[in-house]
Symmetry: C2
Subunit: 324 residues, 2 copies
C-alpha cells in the first residue's frame, strides 16, 4: 500500500510537471482541466508497478506511464462527445464546458502528448513498447465503436459483450502492465503474461462495475445505484437476464425496456426482481471471480520473488474492493 501510494505520487507529480500552458489556450486548458479532474491513476500505476516487479529501473517507466494516463484521458474526452455525457467525475465534460470542436482538437493534442511521453521509453525497448501502445490504442477505439453499436443493436450476445469490455477497458490495463514489464527489461513472454494478468483483472473490474451499479451499497457507490437499469444499459446482468428469462419474465423485461414514463425506483425494483429470480448476480460474480482467479493464478505462476508480486496482488484486491 505504501508502494502504491508512492507510485501515485510519482504520477501526480509527473502530470504536474508536463508543460501544458502553451498557446492557443483553447487547446491546452481543456487538457489541464481533464487531468485535474483526478481519477485513480490505475493505468500509470500499473506501468510503474510492472517495471519494478520485473526488477527494472522505475525512473525509465515514468514518462510512458504518464503517456498511458494521457491516452486514457484523451479517450474519455472523445468518448464523452460520442456518449453525450454531461458530467465526468461530477464536473462538466470538456465538450459541455467548452464545445465539441475544442473537445475533438484538444483530445488530438492530448493523444499526441501521450505519444511523446510513451516515446521516452528507453531506446532498447522503444519499438516493442510502441507496438503494445499502438495495438492497445486501436483495440480501445474498436471497443468504443462496439459499445456505440450495441446501444442500437436489438440483440447483443454475451460473448460480444465480453469482447467489447475486453477491448474498451481490459486491454489498456493489460497493455499498461506489458509496457511496464518491457521497460523493466522483462522477456517478451513474461511481458505477455503480464498483459494477460491485466486483461483478466480488467474484465473482473468491469464486471464488478456492472454488479455494483445494481447491487452496490448506495452509501459507498458514489453514483446512483440502478443507473444502468434506468438507462437500459446493456450490461452483463441485463444480457444474461434477457437470454435466460422465461416468457413472462421476458415480457416484463421488454415492458420496462420500452416504457417511456416510469418511477425510477419501481423500474429498478422490478428488473432486479427478475435478476434475482434468475440468479443473475451470482452468475456475474462467478464470471468476475473466474477472471480474477485467472489473473491471480497467472501472477502466482510467474517466476519472480514473492515480494515483487505483492504490490500487484494488493492492487488487484483493491480493484475488486476485496478486503483480504
Amino acid at each position: 500500500m505504501q508502494q502504491l501510494a508512492i507510485y501515485r505520487t510519482q504520477i501526480e507529480e509527473g502530470l504536474q510537471e508536463l508543460a501544458l500552458d502553451n498557446q492557443p489556450r483553447e487547446l491546452y486548458e481543456p487538457i489541464r482541466y481533464t487531468l485535474e479532474l483526478g481519477g485513480k491513476r490505475m493505468r500509470p500505476i500499473l506501468v510503474l508497478l510492472a517495471c519494478d516487479m520485473v526488477g527494472g529501473d522505475g525512473r525509465h517507466a515514468i514518462a510512458p506511464a504518464l503517456g498511458v494516463e494521457l491516452f486514457h484521458n484523451f479517450t474519455l474526452l472523445h468518448d464523452d462527445i460520442m456518449d453525450e455525457a454531461p458530467l465526468r467525475r461530477g464536473q462538466p465534460t470538456v465538450y459541455k464546458k467548452y464545445n465539441p470542436n475544442i473537445a475533438i482538437l484538444s483530445g488530438d493534442v492530448m493523444y499526441t502528448i501521450a505519444c511523446q511521453q510513451v516515446a521516452e521509453a528507453p531506446a532498447s525497448v522503444l519499438k516493442p513498447v510502441l507496438d503494445v501502445f499502438h495495438d492497445t490504442a486501436i483495440k480501445v477505439c474498436e471497443g468504443q465503436q462496439w459499445d456505440l453499436n450495441f446501444e442500437t443493436d436489438e440483440q447483443v450476445a454475451i460473448e460480444a459483450y465480453l469482447e467489447m469490455i475486453k477491448l474498451k477497458t481490459a486491454v489498456l490495463l493489460g497493455g499498461s502492465l506489458q509496457m511496464g514489464a518491457l521497460i523493466g527489461g522483462a522477456s517478451a513472454n513474461l511481458a505477455k503474461d503480464m498483459y494477460a494478468i491485466g486483461v483478466h483483472l480488467g474484465l473482473a473490474f468491469q464486471l464488478q462495475d456492472d454488479i455494483l451499479d445494481t447491487y452496490g451499497d448506495p452509501e459507498k457507490f458514489g453514483k446512483q445505484v440502478g443507473g444502468d437499469i434506468i438507462q437500459n444499459k446493456k450490461t452483463y446482468l441485463l444480457l444474461q437476464a434477457q437470454q435466460q428469462a422465461n416468457a413472462s419474465q421476458s415480457a416484463t423485461l421488454t415492458h420496462w425496456l420500452t416504457v417511456e414514463s416510469f418511477q425510477p425506483e419501481t423500474k429498478v425494483e422490478a428488473v432486479k426482481r427478475i435478476f434475482d429470480a434468475l440468479n443473475i448476480r451470482e452468475q456475474a460474480e462467478a464470471e468476475r471471480d473466474r477472471h480474477y482467479d485467472i489473473a491471480i493464478k497467472t501472477l502466482e505462476a510467474l517466476t519472480l520473488p514473492a515480494e515483487a508480486k505483492a504490490p500487484l496482488q494488493q492492487l488487484a484486491a483493491q480493484l475488486l474492493n476485496r478486503d483480504h
Copy 2:
C-alpha cells in the same frame, strides 16, 4: 518527373496494402473511403524524396511516408467536422456521409495507424523521427485551432495569419522532408535544413492558394474563383487589404463583409477592385516568392550532388504551378 511518378506509385501501392478491412466496419470503412478520395500525396512523396536525396535506402522510408499521409488524412477527417465542410474532393466528407461520432473515432484509429507506420522507421533513427512527427502533429493541431479562432476574431494581424498557415500547413511539409532525411541517414543539421525548405515551400504554396482563389483561371482552378471573398475568409489578401485600406475603401470592405444578401459576382468584383487599387495581388506574390526563394536558395546551398536535388526542385516548381 519520372522519379516523382515512381514515388507516387509507391505510395498508392503502399496505401492499398494496408490492412484496413478489420471490424467493426464503422471504423475502417471511413478510413478506406478517405484514402480513396485521392489527393496529390505530396507529403509522403516528400518523405521518400528526402530519403533518396540524402543517399538513403528508400525502402526504409515507405512506411513512415504512409504514416504521414495517414496523419494528414486524419487531420482532414477531424477538421471537416470542425469546419462543417460538406464536401472534400467533390465527395461527401466522412462526418456527413456517416456521422460525427464515426468521423471522430475512425479519425482516432487512422491517427493510430499513422503512428504505427511511422514507428516502422529504422531503429537507429526511430526516436528522432518520432520527435519530428509528434512535434509536427502538435503544431498542425495548434494551427487548426488558430484558424478556428480567427473565424470569429475581429482583427487578425498578418503575422498571426502567417504563423497560422505555417503551423496548419507548412510544418507538415517541413516535417515530411525532415523525417525522410533522418531516415536516409542525414545529419541533424542537414535534416533541419530540409525542414526549413519544406516550411518555406509550404508557406509559398498556401499563399499561392490564397492568390489563386481570387485570381486563378476559372478553367484551371477547379473550385469557384472568388470563393474566399464570398465566404469572408481571412486570407493574406483580405487581411492586407484591411490593413492598408483608406477610410472609403475600409467602409466598402466592411459593407461587403457584413451585408447578408448579395450577388456573389458583384461582391467578388467589388472586393477585387479594392485589392487591385492597393496592389494586394503583387504584395501576396512578393511574399510567396520570398518564401519560395528562401526554399530554393536553401536547397541550392546544401552540399549534395546537383542530380540529387533535381526531384525536389522539380516538385517545388510543380507545387507553385511554375513552368520553368
